[in-house]
């Protein structure tokens, strides 16, 4: 994967193009998750194919974020199997998921508040830095070379996300929309093969949303990154998703292409609240 030739504005209309769908990369089978007596997820199965944009939608409290937390190992489901690239995952900690190429953003921004934009994105390169503590203490030889090499990569991401002018600002001082972008940048810095995005456009105005959509599509298109997306804005979801899974009260009530889901009875009633 090479990031040098990014052209952000190139692929606005990638949503409907015939994309390179690959095999199933992630297969979730009969996942159930409980907190004490509270059921967060009940018997949920779905899969994610390589290179696709897979959205998870559903009303508040439907278990969408819990689903992402299961995928990257923050929560451990009590029942069910998870197959990643055909291999069953046993108990997996989040950092291991990261090693397998799964990156993530959070619903409530989870940036490192005390650090600058640059340092935040640099943490994303962490897995690729190999120098040992002594080399770092002396800041000499490999350690310095690595710092510079990764800094170059990070600067590319910064350019891509158009946040050059705030690179040395502590992230806490940035407006919300920019913070979301930095968080995306941090996830991208890890060069993930799968990117989990938890409401990346929440609280944004239309313009910011458009920017974010463009970034997501670009990432998907240019790097072939598989994307699992949680989003409330139906317009956005229906526009950019390849397939959509619908959750309600921790259960799956719909799954399929945007058009299928749009016409699904259960989904309509869940959103309009007519039955239950």
């Amino acid at each position: 994967m090479d990031m040098t030739d990014i052209n952000p504005a190139a692929s606005d209309a990638a949503a409907d193009s015939g994309r390179r769908f690959g095999d199933v990369i992630l297969d979730l089978q009969n996942i159930s998750l409980r907190f004490g007596g509270v059921k967060a997820l009940t018997d949920i199965s779905f899969d994610v194919r390589e290179h696709e944009i897979r959205s998870i939608i559903g009303p508040n409290g439907a278990g969408k974020s819990s689903m992402l937390n299961v995928i990257n190992g923050v929560y451990h489901p009590q029942e069910g199997r998870i197959l990643y690239r055909g291999q069953e995952r046993k108990r997996l900690e989040p950092y291991m998921a990261a090693r397998q190429g799964i990156a993530r953003t959070f619903q409530n921004i989870a940036l490192f508040k005390g650090m600058s934009v640059l340092d935040n994105i640099m943490t994303g390169r962490n897995l690729m830095m190999k120098s040992n503590i002594l080399q770092m203490a002396l800041y000499w030889g490999r350690a310095q070379k690595e710092e510079i090499a990764h800094r170059e990569k990070v600067e590319e991401i910064i350019d891509f996300l158009e946040i050059q002018n705030v690179r040395k600002t502590p992230v806490g001082q940035l407006p919300y929309g920019l913070q979301k972008r930095v968080e995306l940048g941090r996830a991208l810095a890890a060069e993930p093969s799968m990117l989990l995005l938890d409401e990346p456009m929440a609280g944004m105005n239309v313009e910011e949303k458009q920017d974010m959509c463009r970034f997501i599509l670009d990432v998907n298109d240019q790097f072939g990154t598989t994307i699992v997306l949680i989003e409330h804005d139906m317009g956005v979801v229906m526009d950019i998703s390849d397939r959509v899974v619908v959750l309600d009260y921790g259960k799956k009530i719909g799954d399929g292409a945007p058009d299928e889901v749009r016409n699904n009875e259960d989904v309509i009633s869940a959103y309009l609240g007519t039955s239950h």
Partner: protein
């Protein structure tokens, strides 16, 4: 108008990543080092070395070590005194049990022993956070207090539990006079400060800060909490252990476990809070403040001719420290170091308000 970065363009990332990217800062640092290494030894009085500079340097080093743990990695420790004690007693044992053990080697070995103990007591940090960790580190404090008092082997079976060292030298140069002690501490502190700064601006430093700011997010981008926390404990206790060796060997010369009591642990934590959590210069500012304030307050009645009892002054010091800690936590969690950099920022823009 003198303090400007205008016109100082960086043409490489290496240049942008230096510790002091601004030219004037480099000049100021050079000047400071010149004063510390050359001017001070020429003009400093014995009182200044023995009572102010040497304890300041050593405590700054210990605060630096603690700041890595508390300020950078967000793991609280109330057992710093214990890790200093481990360093001091370990180095003492290396010195008395192995003939011809050089001071520097003993010091580093002392630091390593502190590292081992630090990591051992850091293990609970993998399961527990903040408040609970305070108790775990207190356990380290009380246990080592007891061990060095009780277990005769550590003190070479000295009847009272007090031990002493004499005839210190480095490469044959005796470390006896106040000036030589001062210079020795200064060299050690400068080297460690530089290494600490390097660590904190490297990948490992970012890992620590990531764990501090949001541990779940850190894990999600691939930082192993175990590794980050334990390295912070290791590096921190190593530095603290070396500071313990200096405190015992160079500053006190003869000591008992009480030199590393829980009071010392609190004192260091306060230095870090007042000086600035998560900054290298903060450790120095905090140490300077904590060392100087009691001395100045002690002297004040003497200078002004106001009769205040020494006890009242000492209570006053307590109150001022307590109040300042709360003040800094509320108003400026990054302490004096942050105030300093805000001041610099203002200077950079002066005379324009924004």
């Amino acid at each position: 108008m003198l303090y400007r970065e205008n016109g100082q363009f960086k043409t490489s990332y290496a240049a942008d990543q230096q510790i002091f990217p601004i030219l004037q800062d480099r000049w100021a640092l050079g000047l400071l080092l010149l004063v510390a290494f050359v001017v001070m030894p020429l003009v400093g009085s014995e009182y200044f070395f023995r009572a102010i500079l040497i304890p300041f340097l050593i405590l700054a080093l210990a605060a630096l070590g603690l700041n890595i743990l508390v300020g950078y990695c967000g793991q609280i420790s109330l057992g710093t005194g214990a890790f200093m004690a481990v360093g001091a007693y370990a180095a003492y044992n290396f010195m008395v049990r192995i003939d011809g053990m050089p001071l520097i080697v003993a010091m580093l070995l002392g630091g390593l022993c502190a590292t081992v103990i630090g990591v051992l007591f850091g293990i609970p940090s993998l399961r527990i956070k903040g408040l609970y960790l305070a108790v775990a580190t207190l356990a380290a404090q009380f246990f080592t207090d007891w061990a060095f008092l009780r277990i005769g082997w550590f003190t070479n079976n000295s009847t009272s539990g007090s031990v002493s060292v004499a005839n210190l030298n480095v490469f044959g140069i005796p470390i006896e006079s106040p000036v030589s002690k001062y210079l020795f501490c200064l060299v050690v502190v400068c080297l460690f400060a530089l290494m600490a700064k390097n660590l904190t601006r490297s990948a490992i430093g970012r890992q620590w800060m990531a764990i501090r700011d949001m541990d779940v997010a850190a894990a999600v981008i691939g930082i192993r909490p175990v590794y980050a926390k334990l390295t912070a404990f290791a590096v921190s206790s190593f530095i603290v252990g070396v500071a313990g060796v200096l405190w015992a060997f160079v500053y006190l010369g003869a000591w008992e476990p009480a030199a590393f009591s829980i009071d010392r642990s609190f004192q260091l934590l306060f230095m870090v809070i007042i000086g600035g959590l998560g900054s290298i210069s903060g450790a120095f500012l905090g140490a300077a403040f904590m060392v100087l304030l009691p001395v100045v307050l002690d002297q004040l009645p003497h200078w002004l001719g106001i009769p205040i009892s020494t006890a009242t002054v000492s209570h006053l010091v307590h109150m001022i420290f307590g109040a300042l800690i709360v003040f800094f936590l509320i108003v400026e969690p990054h302490g004096l170091a942050k105030l300093w950099s805000v001041g610099k920022q203002k200077m950079r823009l002066w005379p324009f308000p924004h």
